[in-house]
């Protein structure tokens, strides 16, 4: 419903459905330009690449969240599943000394399994996603503490090698392998969303569940699938985070679900579902990352300004979305 309304309205030549993404893109460029003028050494390609390197795991998690939000649901469990993944990989490699090629698939299966169960409960028992994933959040965080309350260091050679590898691009620019993983995830997810039946069902379910049901689309299966995808992405994000942190800890990624939701919203996806793009989510993550970079360049600003800025950005973007949909209704 929202999609139709929004797309009926155009500004100049740009269809309105691209407008939120465009606004986010402009904001990102503007922040980068202002930062480049204000701070020495800011306007370099490496700064942007660093945002990618430091936020690769958030990007992967936000991709999963985008799927869920596009169907009109929400997944509060992602942060805890990320923490659980770091904890399981760290403890299995430190204790029984499992090899990484066994641990990583196992972690991914566990994450997807948790997502599958939550999706099934949401669909089969008609309980709000908010509550189900909240219970999932408690469960995953609880499992972390059950495994151990302390931080477990990861000393596995494969993991440390992965963490320290620098992939040189041209002209002194470099990225970490995690960035490649994240980019692959984004590309695959974009393909799935726009060129497969599943992707179209996701948009249709979010646009109007009743219409989707009347059209004979597998609404229930779609819902279960998106939560499974989100669980998988969270587990993969957890693996990337354990590369980044080289430790497993129950207090990793506290509140990450909020960052992921904020990134998706700033990227122009409607929380009611049915409208939004994966590229917007990528931009949303970049904007969040750039805020942190700006604050670290500024030096004197305290860390809590990050939260205040994110809050203000959320406000502006939600207001913009609101304006677009209000104008298009006329």
């Amino acid at each position: 419903m929202v999609t139709e309304r929004v797309s009926a309205f155009t500004v100049g030549r740009v269809p309105a459905k691209y407008l939120p993404v465009l606004v986010t893109g402009c904001l990102f460029v503007a922040m980068f330009v202002v930062g480049g003028i204000r701070y020495e050494g800011f306007a370099s390609g490496q700064v942007i690449l660093n945002v990618f390197i430091d936020n690769a795991f958030l990007l992967v998690v936000a991709v999963g969240m985008t799927f869920v939000i596009l169907t009109g649901g929400i997944d509060l469990s992602v942060g805890s599943v990320v923490a659980l993944s770091t904890m399981i990989s760290a403890s299995l490699m430190a204790g029984p000394g499992w090899p990484p090629y066994l641990v990583i698939p196992l972690v991914l299966v566990i994450g997807s399994g948790l997502g599958l169960v939550m999706g099934y409960i949401v669909h089969a028992f008609d309980i709000q996603p908010f509550i189900v994933t909240l219970a999932g959040m408690f469960l995953a965080r609880g499992l972390c503490y059950t495994i151990g309350t302390d931080s477990i260091p990861i000393e596995d050679p494969t993991f440390t090698a992965f963490a320290q590898t620098r992939i040189d691009l041209f002209a002194d620019l470099w990225i970490s392998p995690s960035v490649i993983v994240a980019v692959v995830v984004v590309l695959v997810a974009a393909y799935v969303l726009h060129y497969t039946r599943l992707g179209r069902s996701v948009y249709a379910t979010g646009g109007s569940e009743q219409s989707a049901l009347l059209m004979g689309l597998p609404v229930g299966r779609t819902k279960i699938t998106v939560y499974t995808i989100s669980g998988f992405c969270s587990a993969l994000g957890g693996v990337l985070l354990s590369f980044y942190m080289l430790s497993g800890y129950g207090l990793h990624a506290v509140g990450m679900e909020l960052d992921a939701i904020a990134a998706v919203v700033i990227g122009g996806t409607l929380l009611t579902g049915g409208s939004g793009f994966l590229f917007g989510t990528v931009l949303g993550v970049l904007v969040l990352g750039l805020i942190q970079t700006v604050i670290s360049f500024e030096g004197t600003l305290s860390s809590w300004w990050t939260k205040i800025f994110i809050g203000m950005l959320l406000f502006v973007f939600i207001l913009l979305q609101r304006l677009f949909s209000a104008r298009s209704r006329r």
């Binding site: 028992f125 709000q128 909240l134 609880g142 049901l213 009347l214 919203v265 939260k307 809050g311």
Partner: protein, 341 residues
């Protein structure tokens, strides 16, 4: 009354479990003119959660949700402690903190009713930004105050009863009177059922929505004062962290549907007590504290499943499974339900 049956059963089971492990669980003594006992402790430590949940109930009854209460808890405690540490009177400090909370709540309500933003996002703004604001007020430090008068709110006693419990009883009584003896409760429920239809029927839906968000923030503010006064300090980072989730759980466990249109204050109090008793139980039966969250997740899932009509239908089906209704009827029913939204 049937709606309260399951929450009450769960609460009684939890209490019974406690008696099994600690036989003296139900004993209440008077020591130095103060009431002591496990039950009193549950009420006393559960007081902030009950308050926040009461506000949350009314918000949820209008079909909304308020994620920002945890941040408001932190802001309220932070502002009050800052004022007291700058030698303001306790009364001024409390008034300033609660005033700010009312303002923040009205802001939430304005975003929802005035601008028309989905409640979950509108309050997400304050949830993220408010945490930063609280840290801004405290300057990132933990402000410690030494004020006996302020200490009374969360740690004091009046007529042998902990002061916090009295506050909860007062707020509960006023809320119950306003919503169940006056028309306000019905107006709130009708706005939750269908805001547009209520407006056409002559109800000031906007005013009511703004009011319930302001009320929720005010409750959160009082809870914030209680929490910070109990420890005589304000921590912008951790005060009230995740209390919004506990409050929403309490409301849902109490039988108030997240889709709005109905609410049960008694159910919410039961729900909040279940959550607090759960925490106490975990300690008293010797579940290692590491698995607290695990235990909580299981109980929450169980309670929500029990209350889900489709789960009960699947589990307690007495007769052989009736054939599924034809797809058209099902869709018509669901479409009908959607129209009700």
């Amino acid at each position: 009354m049937r709606r309260l049956l399951w929450p009450a059963v769960v609460l009684l089971l939890l209490l019974a479990l406690n008696v099994f492990f600690t036989p003296s669980f139900f004993s209440i003594q008077v020591r130095q003119g103060h009431l002591y006992g496990s039950l009193i402790d549950i009420l006393r430590f559960g007081a902030p959660l009950i308050l926040v949940s009461l506000g949350m109930t009314l918000v949820i009854a209008t079909g909304g949700i308020d994620l920002s209460v945890g941040s408001v808890v932190a802001i309220s405690g932070a502002l009050a402690c800052l004022q007291i540490s700058q030698d303001a009177g306790v009364f001024t400090a409390v008034a300033a903190a609660l005033g700010l909370c009312l303002l923040l709540g009205a802001w939430n309500g304005f975003l929802v009713a005035g601008v028309g933003i989905q409640p979950i996002i509108a309050t997400l703004i304050l949830m993220v930004g408010g945490r930063g604001l609280a840290q801004l007020i405290t300057g990132g430090q933990i402000i410690t105050v030494n004020s006996p008068a302020y200490k009374v709110i969360g740690g004091g006693y009046l007529l042998t009863v902990p002061f916090g419990i009295l506050i909860v009883i007062a707020v509960l009584a006023v809320t119950a009177f306003l919503t169940r003896r006056l028309a306000l409760g019905m107006l709130i429920e009708s706005v939750g059922g269908n805001a547009e239809a209520s407006r056409l029927a002559g109800i000031r839906a906007r005013g009511i929505i703004i009011m319930v968000y302001a009320f929720a923030a005010l409750c959160a503010g009082v809870a914030g004062l209680m929490i910070s006064s109990n420890v005589s300090s304000a921590d912008g980072n951790n005060a009230g962290l995740w209390i919004e989730l506990d409050a929403i759980l309490a409301v849902v466990i109490g039988g108030t549907s997240l889709s709005g249109g109905r609410f049960s204050l008694g159910g919410t109090v039961l729900g909040a007590l279940i959550i607090q008793t759960l925490t106490t139980t975990i300690y008293s039966i010797g579940v290692p504290p590491e698995t607290t969250l695990l235990f909580k997740a299981l109980v929450v899932t169980a309670v929500c499943l029990i209350q889900s009509p489709s789960f009960r239908e699947k589990l307690f089906r007495r007769r052989p499974a009736p054939p599924n209704p034809p797809i058209q009827t099902r869709i018509r029913e669901e479409a009908g339900a959607a129209h009700g939204d």
